[in-house]
Amino acid sequence: MNSLQFMLSHRTEVLAATREHLILVLISLAIAAAIGVPLGLAIVGRPRLRAIALAVASVLQTIPSLALFGFLIPLPFIGGIGAHTAIVALVLYALLPILRNTYVGLTGIDPAILEAAEGMGMTEEHILFRVRLPLASSVIMAGIRTAAVITIGVATIAAAIGAGGLGTFIFRGVSMVSDAVILAGAIPAAILALLADFLLGLLERRLKVT
């Protein structure tokens, strides 16, 4: 049985898994952005906090994903089996690109523009919300885009701790030694990643000012 036939005959299951996968990714990205963007703002002008935050986020990203899921299972509150543990892990992975791009975007602005803003009598708050953030938005969006692609891939492993999603097919396919079943999870995951990359790329270009 080839994979296309398998996917067609199991389309309701595949669609449900895709939906689950997408929900896992969207929730994780939203939380990562809600942490990463404000943290990126906070580390501008605070070198010590910046060093710590970027180091921690980088180290988190180096932990093999299966190991990270494993580490989280025994933890109280955030751990255990299921989607919420997977979300914690995915947030930790998505954090670095969002945090780093927010920082780079905010600090990469032409200093002459910031000095003009200051010289015109804009307050720090005005400069942040009317100058820095709008000018950094496309770089921040590029970080969210990278994070989305990473998260869609890593989320397939979340099935290992019972979080569902497209990884369910992949793990099942591995144990059944069936390429068709593996591809039923892998192909939709790849399509999701390509779509996310394309759509967020469009958004990123729209936000870009030259």
């Binding site: 003009a116 200051e118 010289g119 000012v209």
Partner: protein, 253 residues
């Protein structure tokens, strides 16, 4: 005689206390209402720093800068800056805002009513020779260097400040556009009674636009002169500037 609108009193400025070479040293002079002061000097002479002391972008190490008889340190810095127009080389426009949004920014921050902002926008854009309707929705990247600089001047004038600070405003322009803008600046100044402080390294520009020229060298004022007097100065630095522009009259003493 009326009080000076801007006054420098024994101003010293250095970046760190251990630095042996101050950026500005022993600077004292006064600027009166309606004057156009050209701060002339080579790169690194301290002229831009001197300008930035007026709107508090730099703070004196010792001495004092007074604006409208109040020490810059005692001013509410936001109030002070909103009352001073600031024009820098073309990079100063906000790239993500339209011409109209750039120009109307300070009036908007000052909570002017919408109709007053609209009429002011039309007024200042016309005063710099641009069509208000044609340019309102354009972004800085869609403008030529000369147009950007006009918008920069319009933005600085928008809230009708008494003082205008200009940091090499025409420096990045081609010679023809620069000459055009300089002529328009002179016409504009005749109609507006603003006090202007202009930083330039171009002695021709200083002579053309300044009612008084302040010559800086290595952080010190070495001459204050009207354009008429300036061409007769005997100080070697002044002679260098004039010789470079082939404007020297008579032999140096």
């Amino acid at each position: 005689m009326s009080h000076p609108i801007i006054e420098f009193r024994q101003v010293e400025y250095q970046i760190s206390t251990i630095s042996t070479h101050p950026i500005l040293s022993g600077v004292s002079f006064q600027i009166h209402r309606g004057e156009t002061i050209a701060l002339l000097g080579r790169s690194g002479s301290g002229k831009t720093t001197l300008l930035k002391l007026i709107n508090g972008l730099r703070r004196v190490s010792s001495g004092a800068v007074l604006v409208q008889e109040h020490d810059v340190r005692d001013w509410d810095i936001i109030r002070l800056r909103r009352g001073i127009g600031y024009v820098i080389q073309e990079t100063g426009l906000f790239p993500h805002l339209t011409v109209r949004e750039n120009v109307c920014l300070v009036p908007q921050l000052e909570n002017w009513p919408a109709d007053r902002i609209s009429s002011r926008y039309v007024e200042v854009l016309q005063s710099v020779g641009l069509s208000p309707s044609l340019y309102s929705q354009r972004y800085p990247r869609e403008l030529s260097g000369g147009q950007r600089q006009r918008v920069g001047v319009a933005r600085a004038l928008a809230a009708d400040p008494e003082i205008l600070l200009m940091d090499e405003p025409f420096g990045a322009l081609d010679p023809v556009t620069r000459a055009e803008l300089q002529r328009e600046f002179l016409a504009l100044r005749r109609n507006l009674t603003k006090t202007v402080v202009l930083v330039t390294h171009d002695v021709r520009e200083a002579l053309l636009l300044g009612t008084r020229i302040v010559l800086l060298d290595s952080g010190r004022i070495i001459a204050e002169a009207t354009p008429h007097e300036f061409v007769r100065l005997t100080h070697p630095v002044a002679r260098e500037f004039l010789a470079a522009a082939e404007l020297a009259t008579g032999a140096p003493a």
